[in-house]
């Protein structure tokens, strides 16, 4: 066990509080699930640096803080507070959570879409708990994962999207998780389940916003199940405050011909870890992972991705780009596993990183495990600075140094945006990225 008992105490106390609280309409098996999960967490604690998956990201900063369980939503969050993260490029369904608690007044999602249901997790537990049960048991790959265990133990609310076959969600669903300033820091553990049956399609925009002064811990777990030929486009925008901690796990399992298109934007937070995994379980399933992280100051962001090619003729394509300034540190680890019988797999992975200062750091590592013959797998990683020749070229045209630098940083992020096919979603992503990139006047601060 890696954790000191002092570090563990707030979690133990939190769990006690939770267990003694009235259960409401929650099914009885949930209590057992929680208890098991908490026991696993208490037994192992957070992963130490000797853990292969946590080599470059220490959980110490997280352990040093005591987070209490999220209290009911803060009334003071207004539409204006969350305006920066709202989508106005297109109509969307919106569900808003403040410190983990749903806020109906700010939400607009209708549950009356033909053949597709959007619930809060609590509603879903009340209405359809039996169907949900298998999906609340964490994926076996994360059976030993402290954060998954925590999420299950403290699972309180979240979102369930469940479709029939051949349904197309009429407009994207945006989930907004807001972290607000509190006198004592809070932890919340949102759980998101998305199940698209055969031939169904949806767009999910999962967003995390931190308000001024927030210093909370958000630990989310998203599970996605795609039936045959189902298609999910999934944009994740993580823009918490500079005091916020963020961990998220996204697990996707895919049937034949399904496609999962992920765009992960890490644009905020103090200490951020994201794990994204797709299992391509049947032929012609395809996963595209796009990612952009932009960090500065003392921010730390770690992206671990993994694609399991478990069937013939599956495809994955991954591009992560990082912009790292100040004393920030970024980690990218992209794992691709090709099972023995997964012949004709096509997997490509690229990681490009732009360091804007001498003190910025990046650890980027591809990990290929290929057990099949007749596969096409490629990977490449680059780490570079702003192109001096391009800077001079721009300046020789009258563009000042700061503007030229900002222009080149933005240009670097464009390759990522180009991989978002839907133009309105791309416009939204572009707007989000723009707020995070060094502005003309501030480029020097990233150096």
């Amino acid at each position: 066990m890696n954790m000191t008992s002092a570090a563990l105490r707030p979690y133990v106390e939190g769990f006690k509080t939770l267990e003694t609280a009235p259960a409401g309409n929650a099914p009885a098996w949930l209590a057992g699930l929680r208890r098991d999960a908490f026991a696993r967490f208490a037994d192992r604690g957070f992963p130490g640096e000797r853990h292969e998956e946590w080599k470059y990201t220490s959980t110490r900063p997280l352990e040093k803080r005591a987070f209490s369980l999220a209290t009911p939503a803060h009334d003071s969050v207004s539409a204006r507070d969350i305006a920066p993260i709202l989508v106005h490029e297109m109509p969307v369904h919106t569900l808003v959570f403040v410190n983990g608690n749903p806020v109906a007044a700010l939400s607009t999602a209708s549950s009356a879409i033909r053949g597709l249901r959007i619930f809060s997790l609590n509603q879903a537990l009340e209405q359809n708990a039996v169907v949900l049960q298998p999906y609340l048991i964490p994926e076996s790959v994360w059976a030993d994962d402290a954060f998954t265990a925590l999420n299950t133990a403290f699972l309180k609310d979240g979102v369930v999207v469940d479709s029939d076959a051949k349904v197309q969600l009429d407009r994207p669903l945006q989930l907004i998780f807001v972290s607000t300033h509190q006198t004592s820091s809070l932890a919340c553990h949102p759980r998101i389940l998305v199940r698209l049956a055969n031939d169904s399609q949806a767009t999910l925009i999962e967003t995390y916003l931190g308000l001024e002064g927030a210093a909370n811990f958000t630990n989310s777990y998203t599970q996605i199940v795609l039936g045959e030929n189902a298609r999910l486009e999934h944009l994740r925008v993580q823009r918490e405050s500079l005091g916020d901690f963020h961990v998220s796990r996204v697990h996707v399992s895919q049937q034949g011909g399904s496609s999962y298109l992920s765009h992960t934007l890490n644009l905020g937070g103090l200490w951020v870890r994201t794990d994204l995994q797709a299992r391509l379980e049947a032929p012609l399933a395809e996963a595209v992972f796009n990612g952009l992280y932009a960090v500065n100051g003392r921010q730390h962001v770690d992206n671990h991705t993994r694609v399991d090619h478990l069937a013939p003729a599956t495809r994955s394509n991954e591009l992560y780009r990082g912009i790292i300034g100040g004393h920030a540190r970024a980690v990218f680890n992209g794992k691709v596993v090709v099972a023995k019988h997964a012949v004709k797999t096509d997997a490509a992975q690229t990681s490009n990183n732009l360091l804007l200062s001498r003190t910025a750091e990046i650890d980027t590592k591809p990990e290929l495990e290929i057990y099949a013959d007749d596969v096409k797998c490629s990977h490449g990683a680059t780490i570079g600075q702003l192109d001096e020749q391009a800077l001079f070229y721009l300046r020789s045209r009258g563009i000042d140094l700061q503007t030229a630098r900002a222009l080149l940083v933005e240009a670097f992020s464009l390759k990522l945006l180009e991989r978002i096919p839907a133009s309105r979603l791309r416009a939204y992503a572009a707007r989000q990225i723009k707020t995070a990139l060094p502005r003309q006047s501030a480029v020097a601060e990233w150096a």
């Binding site: 001079f392 000042d400 140094l401 933005e410 240009a411 390759k415």
Partner: protein, 250 residues
């Protein structure tokens, strides 16, 4: 307009320019010729303000100002323009964006109002047509994937849009086919005026068939070894540089 006196410069610790003198008056077109590696690009880069060159002696005055103390963008604002021998590809920044940002930056410096977006586009399109550049190039990334000739034409387009006072053209004729050469020459001639000066670095007489220079210089060994009128270029074309070097050594 431009007065270079006894310019000495080093690159990576090596002396490249060794006491170069050059006077350019408004309205003049100068051609600079010289062997490979003699320092022609070095000279125009130093004038445009590129990093990596160490000026160890001498001075450059431009419109009465100390050019060497200005950063590259200030020089551009003051009307200096360099058409690059090797134009830089800038993925992710599109051509029209660059043109507009550059144009507005320069206008702002002159205290002029920014041009309305529609008017700007109309102006650029007219100039593209003049340079026989397809309008689709507006939205392409700067120089990315352009052929050698397209890059050179694009440099001249930028020059036509920005209307500099002092144009430095580094081998703008290299790599052009006959038709492209005519188009580029047409572009350069269009800007010729009594208020403007041009310094063209070239290896070939053929550009000078279209753009008649007022003065021709031979840059070798880091200095201007010989200057003359347009006939000097014809003579160089016939006889090469050896005789100039021999004459200078004598």
């Amino acid at each position: 307009m431009l007065s270079i006196k006894n310019l000495h410069a080093k690159v990576e610790g090596r002396d490249i320019l060794k006491g170069l003198d050059l006077e350019v008056q408004a309205g003049e077109v100068h051609a600079i010729m010289g062997p490979n590696g003699s320092g022609k690009s070095t000279l125009v880069h130093i004038l445009a303000g590129r990093d990596g060159y160490e000026v160890t002696a001498g001075s450059v005055s431009y419109l009465g100002k100390d050019l060497l103390s200005m950063v590259p963008e200030e020089r551009a604002h003051a009307g200096v323009f360099l058409a690059f021998q090797y134009p830089v590809e800038i993925p992710g920044v599109n051509n029209v964006y660059l043109l507009k940002a550059a144009y507005n930056a320069i206008r702002k410096h002159r205290g002029e109002e920014q041009l309305d977006a529609m008017d700007f586009l109309a102006m650029v399109k007219a100039k593209m047509q003049f340079m026989e550049i397809d309008p689709s190039f507006l939205n392409r990334a700067v120089n990315e994937g352009f052929s050698g000739g397209e890059k050179k034409r694009n440099e001249i387009l930028q020059m036509l849009v920005l209307e500099p006072k002092l144009a430095l053209l580094d081998e703008t004729d290299s790599g052009l086919d006959i038709d492209a050469l005519k188009v580029v020459a047409k572009g350069i001639n269009r800007l010729r005026s009594p208020e403007r000066a041009m310094v063209m670095v070239t290896h070939y007489q053929r550009l000078l068939d279209y753009i008649e220079p007022d003065l021709v210089h031979v840059l070798a060994g880091g200095r201007i070894l010989k200057s003359g009128d347009k006939n000097l270029a014809l003579e160089l074309e016939r006889r090469g540089y050896d005789w100039v070097l021999a004459e200078a050594a004598a």
